[in-house]
Symmetry: C2
Subunit: 229 residues, 2 copies
């Protein structure tokens, strides 16, 4: 009954984080090799337990910070997983979050200490519990998000080229995009600043660098835009 605040059925609440990063090899996720039982030695998402005096969002932020040293990161709650035996030790419900980080920024010392490692989403190892399902779910959500928010920018460095942006979207959507159409669609959003600076790393000619214009982006969001790539 509803009015029965019985403690008989209290459960442990975990938070698991799907941490996406992007570099010139493609879209990646950060995984950890567990050094404790159960499933010691197997790969897993990074996660932890919700504390009594903590909100889920903050648990996710804390966990991300513990393993990467990062703060102020885009995170979004995904789904609550509750299969009875999903964790063999004890009944645990897990709420998943996904994060998008600039892969260059994280604290490499930290992730080494925790035996964490980046894997391409196309050849990540098998994960413990229901973590594979969580990752698939997160990729679907990420794909959808790209069409209503330009969240891709979270995954790129401060200054980036059109090519990098294109390749990021190709990695997220796992399909090829037409370069010219992509650029004109992005430009029509008017949320980028074109810098005078060029990145000379990738070609003789050099390609212009862009930054993301947060103010214009916020304006756009009010008229809920859609980006069809």
């Amino acid at each position: 009954m509803l009015n029965n605040y019985s403690s008989a059925d209290k459960v442990l609440l975990a938070v698991d984080c799907i941490i996406f990063g992007f570099d010139n090899q493609g879209l990646k996720i950060l995984l950890i090799k567990r050094d404790f039982e159960p499933e010691k030695g197997k790969w897993s998402l990074i996660g932890g337990f919700l504390k009594r005096d903590e909100v889920l969002d903050n648990a996710a932020i804390r966990i991300l910070n513990t393993y990467t040293g990062l703060n102020d990161i885009y995170m979004e709650q995904l789904y609550a997983y509750s299969e009875i035996d999903r964790d063999p030790v004890e009944r645990t419900i897990s709420v998943s979050y996904y994060a998008l980080i600039n892969i260059e920024n994280h604290n490499t010392e930290l992730i080494k200490n925790y035996h964490a490692q980046w894997f391409s989403i196309t050849d990540a190892p098998n994960l413990i519990f229901d973590h594979n399902e969580m990752v698939e779910h997160a990729i679907r959500r990420l794909r959808y998000r790209t069409s209503i928010k330009p969240i891709g920018f979270e995954l790129l460095p401060e200054k980036f080229t059109m090519r990098q942006l294109l390749e990021l979207y190709e990695a997220i959507l796992s399909k090829e995009l037409d370069k010219r159409n992509f650029i004109s669609k992005i430009n029509s959003l008017e949320i980028l600043n074109k810098l005078d600076e060029k990145d000379m790393g990738s070609s003789r000619k050099g390609s212009y660098l862009y930054t993301f214009n947060k103010e214009k982006y916020e304006e756009k969001l009010l008229n809920d835009f859609v980006l069809n790539l």
Copy 2:
């Protein structure tokens, strides 16, 4: 730490259901007048606690069934709410689900016994805790869902007219739709069966009745369709 399966931080896990129904007055939600503390006498979503040996989806199904007598209903998990004091009695995390039901089908005896009542979404009373937020969230999700799945059919009787379908979508999206464009878009999906039967209730001429063609719909879903209304 991750490897610490401590029971110190176990919490109560609630499930709250946003139950949508539709009739010729528009889109409605089912609310209950609480007859227990806290917040006795105030309006609330229907809900309950997750049991130790129960999956969240089943808890939602059980709760829906308790209050409406219905089974086999479309339900979808929405979000986990975890503000520290969202429930003043005890730390409780709530996972919300929304359900779409045919308003004619539910057990009216049951909802009377529970002091439950249908309210138009446009003039529902203020709700306890964070339930208002849950409802808003559910409406946003429902709007989005209509664009990628024709879930509106769950809210209509077995046989329905084009006008009913149109008005349902107008209620969900809370905007007027052009009748001719709507009908041709729906027809282009090819997921309806036009019956020979007419509904003579609403006009002299009578309007054809339709049923939803599940098989064709399943086919369509494979090529992930989008419906822009």
